[in-house]
């Protein structure tokens, strides 16, 4: 046996000898392990690892290169968003929830606002134009989220170019977000009662151009990856999870649709007027990483279809209100994007500072106190790029949420990691994690 090694201390446990590896000591370690009968190694992958999508920690038990047990360790990005939101008004809540799954902020905001509106009982009073803008923003956001999933997923499997293409497309979508809301991420654009501001001048022209460009550009990644032998060898049959597994684990989104079940809340429980749009629910029956990849690729085109229909509707509804008529809920501020970002419009400032004391008081009251929401609880859910994102809201009748809880699809879906990876090669773990597409901001909240 070797002498004491400062980099690889070992100790006896009831399970056998356990080695803690800390650094460049592979020679002595291999000799020492070779001397024992069992070849079982527990490897920590992450939480700082380039292929684990942020601060995800994977605890893998290996026999050679085969994973015998896989567990995910989470919580490294827990920021207490739910607790914090209990100390803020309902409107301020959007600025918190938007930071949960930071790759799909519009979905978090929308599901939160739909919940608040349900609690207030004003779902029917939301202006149609506001819903149209919400749908358009959500579909753009679906594209940008899928782009990160595909791009980083390919990158983690060693394909660099798809990532460059994907981020090029995502950039275009973020430009649209910036034009409309003033911010590229974490916009807090959807507010209880509608959206924070109307589309700026010329937005629809820019959106039409962008849709055209995106449709053209999506072909680049499709040509690179669909049917690519190397890509298919890395993804086909990898991360297998069938329908029964999905149902018991509560999996939704592309992973569920990759088992052939066309389950999409946009169709089954339409919200924001999704029943008025024509689009297909994409499925695949591979139950594997390749199937999930294909679904995401094809959903891009469906999102573009919906956006085109939104543009036509938004053209017709130009000038219509984008926030609820009820002055006790909707912000009076009339926000616009100025040279320094989003803020109150100059007309509104002139009005409250120079013309109407009552308008100033109202603005002050609704900004500082917010509005009261009748007591009760609701659960509202929408289809995010990763599956069902649900919000459970409890109000005690006050100006703050009494309890706010997000049923995050990333959090739930990450549980399937063990089912997908155990028995597979260690290299396939990376592919499986990429296909789950977890965003740690959403997992840990």
């Amino acid at each position: 046996m070797t002498t004491h090694d400062p980099y690889a201390s070992s100790r006896e446990t009831t399970e056998g000898r356990v080695y803690s590896v800390t650094g460049s000591d592979w020679d002595s370690l291999v000799t020492e392990i070779g001397a024992t009968k069992e070849e079982r190694v527990v490897v920590n992958m992450g939480p700082q690892h380039p292929s684990t999508h942020g601060v995800l920690r994977l605890i893998l038990e290996l026999e050679g290169e085969t994973v015998t047990e896989a567990r995910a360790g989470i919580g490294y990005l827990h920021t207490g968003i739910e607790k914090n939101a209990e100390y803020r008004t309902w409107t301020q809540g959007t600025t918190f929830v938007t930071r949960m799954d930071y790759l799909s902020p519009i979905f978090n905001e929308t599901v939160f606002c739909l919940g608040v509106e349900k609690l207030l009982g004003v779902t029917d009073q939301i202006p149609e134009r506001a819903s149209e803008i919400r749908v358009m923003m959500m579909e753009f956001n679906r594209i940008s989220s899928h782009m990160v999933a595909l791009g980083t997923g390919a990158l983690e499997l060693g394909a660099l170019t798809p990532m460059l293409f994907a981020f090029r497309e995502r950039e275009k979508v973020l430009d649209i977000f910036e034009m409309i809301s003033g911010l590229r991420m974490n916009m807090a654009y959807v507010r209880p009662g509608g959206v924070s501001q109307d589309l700026p001048d010329g937005a629809l022209t820019k959106i039409r151009e962008t849709v055209k460009e995106l449709r053209q550009n999506f072909k680049d990644n499709a040509k690179l990856l669909i049917g690519n032998t190397i890509w298919m060898k890395r993804t086909q049959g990898v991360g297998y999870l069938d329908l029964a597994g999905c149902i018991t684990l509560g999996i939704t989104g592309p992973i569920l649709r990759a088992t052939g079940l066309p389950w999409d809340l946009r169709k089954s429980e339409p919200y924001c007027g999704y029943e008025n749009y024509e689009f297909d629910v994409i499925t695949n029956d591979g139950c594997d990483t390749y199937g999930r990849f294909l679904i995401k690729m094809q959903e891009l085109e469906q999102s573009l279809r919906i956006i085109e229909q939104c543009v036509i509707r938004l053209e017709k509804s130009a000038g219509a209100p984008v926030v609820i008529d009820d002055k006790k809920i909707g912000s009076p501020a009339d926000l616009t994007v100025g040279p320094d970002g989003m803020g109150n419009s100059e007309e509104h400032i002139a009005h409250i500072m120079g013309q109407s004391m009552e308008a100033l008081i109202h603005h002050f009251k609704i900004s500082t106190e917010g509005f009261r929401v009748p007591a009760g609880q609701v659960y509202s859910a929408i289809e995010s790029p990763k599956g069902e994102v649900g919000v459970h809201l409890v109000s005690d009748g006050g100006t703050h949420p009494y309890r706010l809880h997000f049923r995050e699809p990333s959090f739930n879906n990450l549980q399937s990691l063990s089912a997908m990876c155990e028995g597979s090669m260690i290299a396939d773990v990376v592919a499986a994690v990429a296909s789950i597409d977890p965003v740690m901001g959403g997992v840990d909240r």
């Binding site: 989470i74 739910e82 349900k118 509560g250 009760g376 659960y379 069902e388 649900g390 309890r403 049923r407």
Partner: protein, 212 residues
């Protein structure tokens, strides 16, 4: 039941806006009367047929804002959930997790747990709510019925200290393993320190003026 006066929580001082005249009752603690509306009547009928102890074990049936909530006795949660999942006319195949809520004023029922269920076959939703006393926070685990509840129950344990009996590995999930306390309980402080900015001091969020 509490009654709140005033739109902005004004108490006794000169509210000249007129909103102080509003009286709003908060959530009532009674069952909803039939008919419940929507598919709820049919669903509750089916559950009554499939689960003979319905009247004894379901404490309240509440329909609010188009959603059906069944308040179940804590020790019967597993049986009710199993009927919801397995009965061919109910078929709630999917459990969307657990969420805890802490009501410190609700004597001997301080900790509530809320389970949203989804039936994909019939496209229906239902919610079960259970409550346990803070002094004995034990609930049956549903991991055996829905494996996906594993992490949700761990999170609820982590945040509220509710112990799910029968859970295969009930450990903290979001907070560090050696953390003391359960952060989402109402008696757990938010924390934060005052921040000085240009001579003025901004207190932490929980100590700022709040409007009830």
């Amino acid at each position: 039941m509490t009654i709140d006066h005033g739109s902005f929580g004004v108490k006794g001082t000169g509210d000249t806006s007129g909103f102080g005249g509003l009286v709003r009752k908060s959530q009532s603690s009674d069952s909803t009367e039939r008919p419940y509306g929507s598919y709820f009547d049919e669903m509750v009928d089916e559950l009554e047929r499939a689960y003979p102890e319905f009247s004894a074990d379901i404490e309240r049936v509440v329909v609010d804002r188009g959603e059906l909530t069944l308040h179940v006795k804590a020790d019967r949660l597993f049986q009710v959930a199993q009927v919801l999942r397995d009965n061919p006319v109910l078929r709630f195949e999917m459990c969307l997790g657990v969420n805890g809520v802490h009501y410190p004023a609700d004597k001997d029922r301080e900790l509530h747990c809320v389970y949203p269920f989804l039936s994909m076959t019939f496209n229906r939703r239902i919610r079960l709510e259970v409550s346990v006393p803070d002094s004995n926070p034990h609930l049956p685990s549903l991991v055996e019925l829905w494996g996906g509840n594993n992490w949700h129950e761990r999170e609820t344990f982590d945040m509220f200290g509710i112990i799910f009996d029968g859970h295969p590995g009930l450990t903290r999930i979001l907070m560090p393993d050696d953390w003391i306390g359960h952060p989402q309980r109402k008696d757990y402080p938010l924390g934060g320190i005052p921040v000085e900015y240009k001579g003025a001091t901004v207190p932490p969020p929980s100590e700022r003026r709040s409007y009830r």
